[in-house]
Assembly symmetry: none
Homo-oligomer: 84 residues x 4
DNA sequence: TCAGATAAAATCGCGC
DNA sequence: GCGCGATTTTATCTGA
């Protein structure tokens, strides 16, 4: 593939990939819009969207956060092991 | 249990929104992974992923905007002919 | 500027901007290389570069983190204020 | 005070590295801000910042690589002529 | 060369 | 409507 698309088969592959990508991108876009709808509804119900985003982000980060803190413990210990 | 700040209905609504969001986020994540798989396969087939991304981006863009941007690019480049 | 670079003055401005940008980019690049040198030296001294990065990142985040936690406190309170 | 894990020399080295890093990071940050100023001024003069960025990026790139990439882009685009 | 981490850039949504 | 801040996406870099 360094120089050119040599044959029909390669061309078809490229088309297949692009179409696949664009299909998934479209699906993704739909989901993004659904998410937007939820946020809009929540907002119109009186909730603060920014706050909801924050909560969701926290819940997502939580497992990572535990791991992170464990890592940091190790980190500081290692940090002061230093040179041989 | 702490003092009830809000009513149960409000709490339930909030929970409903958050769960809805998290479900859609999960779906979105799956799609992102599928996209990654396509790009990986394209790469392993010999295609240049970066270029494919560029193509997809261009196809998504409004043609008028795209043309305008390309025109500006040429114009600026011309203006810089021979600089440095 | 919507359609073309009309005169010499505009062209000179563009050149000036580009050159300014490239100068600063070059300076930035030097600094990035100095940073790399420090990390390399630290590594050759026996420190774990990843750990040092972590420490630096933590120190940088620290003030933000306090603020973040305060914000979260408010967040959860507000979150359950909900609808009127 | 906790038990001494490492010697003072090692601690001092670590501190020296971290301070060096933070100094360079601060310098880098200044430069980034200067760059932002230039882009802002260019924008207020009527230039298209995105296009300027693209120009700078292209000028930075290895000419052979750039040409190769542009060639691939054209090739792929040709392959997709008439699709969708 | 590859994946995983880091940094840069573009996009989106808000408030002024 | 416009900048500004936050999110997401893209590109670069490093280590395995």
């Amino acid at each position: 593939m360094t120089k050119e698309i040599v044959n029909q088969e390669t061309r078809d592959q490229l088309i297949k990939y692009i179409e696949g990508i664009e299909n998934y991108e479209a699906e993704k876009q739909e989901i993004v819009e659904r998410l937007k709808e939820i946020y809009d509804e929540a907002k119109s119900t009186g909730f603060d969207v920014k706050v909801i985003r924050k909560i969701v982000a926290e819940r997502k980060k939580d497992p990572a956060k535990l791991e992170e803190e464990q890592y940091l413990l190790e980190t500081y210990k290692d940090a002061l092991k230093g040179v041989k």
